[in-house]
Point group: C2
Chain length 460, copies 2
């Protein structure tokens, strides 16, 4: 009987805890939806600063803006964390490309990030179309040498999560040019990583192989890729040539910063929950969804706590990481400093998949039993807010290095709806106008709500 009574008492306590949490959720969402500041902050970042690739004057402007923004929110501590970053520039002169068959057809092109330039007059060669890196191996040097390799495996629309489609097709952009160089290709062009058929190229980083001379690498639009492929099928190979020129170069590394804002924990000031996105963006875009939204959502999460008078038990940090796009130096630096300062990290949450309507969160490497517990206890709280998909999955590039340096950390990715992301990803259409205020605010609220639960109940 005593046992039963104490069980009942525990149940009542648990229920009222649930009710408290539920109430706090409602307050968080109300604050985000009726008093959110993220949308106007994003407008400023996109419209008054704009593209902000690492090492650029605009990246420095974004650092200054980010610091001021968080100071204006009155966080307990706002500071910069110095980090050296690569400084790649597209160059001032126009990029151009021509499919040179019976007639000369200009097509839109954009150098891939970190690529080398072509000669000033451009580069011309026959084109060899491939659909995988493995195909290069099969073809061998004799077939590839002296040619422009054209990676044209389409983004597979069958994946429901477009991020999976990106990973699936992505090796062509990430590694393709470096592998083509090994086989003697003179350049590489890559079909843009999008399921959409349109006429603007999607840029993005490409890697090089140490010890192998890098070749010029560029993205062409999906429409251009379809056109080129059709022409290669219609006409004998030597009759089709491709010409393009680009003027990009890598300058010496620059000093830059992660921008960090903190609410100091009332009970455990040296235990941390990090929430972040990246401050840098590709040079072609305003970087609205990639990743302006992640930035402003992270700051919003803390601002919401301040507005509600919620003082977290553990220290909560919003981190605007520098250099996610072409080097990950900010994320590496943050992890390195965390270890150096012997910080205990409970969890890190990253928002870098766009500011679309929330679906939930992905938990990266969390024990299955913990994930099950979270689904049992926390999922019901998120259901009314449509952010209740709590699954295993990748978290984010900037927080991942923490796994090495602070192994106890739980890595979590914010999971927005992914359907529209790769229509605009790394293109000039990634602009403020394509962000929905409500979607953005619901994301901020979801992130704040999860941080609150972790702060209150931990993740064990």
């Amino acid at each position: 009987m005593k046992k039963l009574l104490s069980l009942a008492a525990m149940l009542i306590a648990a229920l009222s805890l649930q009710a408290q949490d539920s109430l706090m959720f409602r307050k968080i969402y109300d604050e985000a939806l009726t008093n959110g500041k993220g949308y106007e902050a994003l407008r400023y970042l996109c419209k008054n600063i704009g593209p902000r690739l690492s090492g650029s004057p605009n990246a420095q402007k974004a650092v200054d803006w980010g610091k001021k923004l968080m100071e204006s929110y009155g966080f307990d501590r706002v500071y910069l964390q110095e980090v050296m970053v690569p400084h790649w520039v597209r160059g001032a002169k126009e990029e151009a490309a021509i499919i040179d068959g019976k007639t000369r057809i200009p097509v839109p092109i954009a150098a891939l990030g970190m690529s080398v330039a072509t000669p000033a007059s451009g580069i011309t060669a026959n084109v060899i179309e491939v659909h995988s890196l493995k195909e290069l191996e099969t073809l061998g040097e004799s077939a590839i040498k002296g040619k422009i390799v054209f990676f044209n495996r389409p983004f597979n629309p069958r994946f429901i999560e477009t991020g999976d489609g990106y990973s699936d097709a992505g090796d062509q952009r990430f590694m393709g040019p470096a592998v083509a160089a090994k086989y003697g290709a003179v350049a590489a062009i890559v079909r843009s990583l999008t399921p959409d058929i349109n006429d603007y190229p999607h840029t993005g980083g490409t890697l090089s192989t140490p010890g192998v001379k890098a070749i010029p690498a560029a993205a062409i639009s999906t429409q251009a890729a379809e056109k080129l492929s059709r022409m290669l099928k219609l006409r004998k190979l030597p009759l089709i040539k491709f010409w393009f020129k680009q003027n990009c170069q890598t300058l010496p590394d620059e000093k830059s910063y992660n921008v960090i804002g903190e609410l100091t924990g009332t009970e455990n000031p040296n235990k941390f929950i990090t929430v972040g996105g990246h401050l840098d963006s590709w040079d072609l875009a305003e970087g609205a969804h990639d990743d302006g939204t992640g930035i402003v959502q992270s700051a919003e999460a803390l601002r919401i706590f301040k507005a509600l008078g919620y003082r977290p038990k553990n220290s909560v940090r919003a981190v605007f990481f520098m250099n996610e796009e072409n080097g990950h130096k900010g994320g590496l630096k943050y992890a390195e400093e965390a270890a150096k300062n012997k910080e205990e990290h409970i969890a890190a949450i990253e928002s870098d998949f766009g500011g679309f309507t929330p679906r939930g969160f992905t938990f990266d490497g969390l024990p299955a039993a913990t994930l099950e517990k979270i689904n049992k206890e926390w999922k019901p709280l998120f259901v009314p807010y449509y952010s209740d998909r709590l699954t295993a999955g990748f978290s984010g590039t900037d927080i991942e290095p923490l796994r090495e340096t602070v192994p106890s950390v739980a890595l979590i990715g914010f999971l927005p709806d992914s359907q529209r992301y790769f229509d605009i990803h790394h293109t000039p259409t990634d602009v403020f106008e394509n962000v929905s205020k409500r979607e953005l605010e619901l994301g901020s609220a979801s992130m704040a709500a999860l941080i609150y639960l972790i702060d209150q109940h931990g993740l064990k």
Copy 2:
């Protein structure tokens, strides 16, 4: 032992049924995502036909187009169902409005659907701002007579489903002008039904009270509403007047049609599963999300079955309803004919909340035990496709009359993400460009998948 064995056999059969369904889901989504025809059909409807309010020449064009579209898909039967519809027109002359205080400030305005015109020179009066219909009662005739009633209760952003916000604020537009007329108001203006603050008015239908002379009623933009409200607070009431003119009129009813396409059931040709949206749209918009997407998704669901060689046991009908926006005559006619023809209707599904990324379905009046069963047995099939929110809720305006005439029918609403809908609802920004191909296709697939399950397993 025998019992155990038969239990095991049943389990295996159940599992393999689940596996079959799961395989069919994959096929449906693959067809939609790799070979979908809905997006291009929608482009034609929006760009080559455009606005298509009931009774207009464009509505007739849309009927012809819809019939041809479904014929081109090779459905077993495609036919028109005649229905008389209201014919309201905005009129050729420009609509205009001015806040007339110390200075004269022009603001955007749009007549509400079914409203009467102002005199040709417009109407001028003092403004009385109210926030509810109840407030009119409290104020009484003495305060209201001779004035323009200004309904300005904002769309509440706290609702997570924006449809709930629309219902919450909607009485001001639906009923407000009719109630104001009873108290002697000379006209009514209504704050646009959107959580967004922007400068275009959202039109939409308004009702009248039989026996009470209707007054001119119009929507003003949310920005204009904020401005007018500020001015009313700043200056004494008699100093602010409002002037507007509109030229709308209601012409005699016109003959029009629901457009119906059918795959005839192999086992139960006289049992029906209906899927539909509405073909008419407001005159200001292309009617992309409202409700071009619902139309093309309905036809897609049947087209997908054809493409996969799936022959439904029961008859499946795609219905393009006419006149959802200002009369519901198409839905009423369909329900009336269903009863007259003694059709047995298993289920009806409506898509009229935009072509946004799917969340699931709402079941309208289904017994709780059935809904529970569906969640147990069907939800897991939808989880990989992110369309697994299967809850009780409103279905749709066009299928609702079936409840009266064929009480056995299960009414179901397609539930897309609602965050962006009321930014564009009933405005010139409801255009094709604001529809995402993938979101649209995932919706078509979700609807086809649900129809498949109902066709295979019923809803009991």
